[in-house]
Subunit: 182 residues, 2 copies
Amino acid sequence: MNLPPLVQGFVLHFGEMGSRWGLNRTLGQMYALLYVSPQPLNADEITEKLGISRSNVSMGLRELQAWRLVRLEHHPGDRREYFSAPQDVWAIFRTLAEERQRREIEPTLSMLRDALLETVETDEEKHAQARMGEMQALMEQLTTWFTEMNRLSPETLTRLMAMGSRVAKLLELKDRLRTRSG
Amino acid sequence: MNLPPLVQGFVLHFGEMGSRWGLNRTLGQMYALLYVSPQPLNADEITEKLGISRSNVSMGLRELQAWRLVRLEHHPGDRREYFSAPQDVWAIFRTLAEERQRREIEPTLSMLRDALLETVETDEEKHAQARMGEMQALMEQLTTWFTEMNRLSPETLTRLMAMGSRVAKLLELKDRLRTRSG
DNA sequence: ATGAGATTTCACTGATTACTGAAAGTTCAA
DNA sequence: TTGAACTTTCAGTAATCAGTGAAATCTCAT
């Protein structure tokens, strides 16, 4: 691995975490490298800096693109493909959250929707179906909420988040106003 | 596998998803089984219903307890240990979110905090460090917000979530009130 | 059309992770 | 204190997943 110490530590950490995040080591390392790189890199540069095989880089780049975590660009007069990670951390967070939603939540939601349509006979199955209903309700609620929040600007989100649990106070305030005027 | 069709489908699906969620197949299946079970189960019952080895169940149960996803209880006059999944889906969601926070976010945050304390020389490293700073800022913000939200009751959270992006309206309302009174 | 530069595919191998069965450990009643 | 009931540990094996290199494919400039 051919990197300054600070960057190397970051890249190795992301490699380790990669597996916990449903990616794999190489993917984590590649992403970390692109994230801190001052300019886009081509596949050979990544190969060289990480000390892994060219083909591994090729596969990794495809997967990172599928995650929408890296962007492909071309430089005039250069046939090679260059890759960069989007700079806006909020955008990255949203992408990540959307992709996880799509990969981890949606399949389960659709399984649950199907399961809830089945007609069942035994008490055991009825109980199971009721539990699935609770799970589905919460997941739908979270999904809807998440979609809505994703429409807000980073500024608005930052303000909302900065308020933390004090947003609950706003609800009381709203209730009071409504009561007064209603 | 020795289960009614509806339950079996649910259990198998969670087995598949288990890996995407950083668990593994068996863990997913065991959790799903306990989640829909009308009463707590002991290790032998789980072994029998899932058709896996007794030792695998034993290890799986330890891990599910480490995730705080199942609870151990004893029945009077029975030496065996019984396991159940908490019933409250909100509680489950919080537990899951907290554990993922602990396993997936915190290690990265502490790595970033360390990296940001280093003194670096080259422009490349300075750029990398700046990028790490951005990442750290967002992660701290999200972490703080999440901790705060976790204090709210499910009722409050449900109300807030039901408002969706209309919470942003509350901010405007608040601004107006402050302007008027300030 | 040709071939040099660039990228991708894929069968194989190496590494990691999950699962099992046998043995050891624990707990408790008699 | 013995042993029956129950649980855990762990070494070995099976299954899965990641990474490589050679070959195939793609893509332009000539």
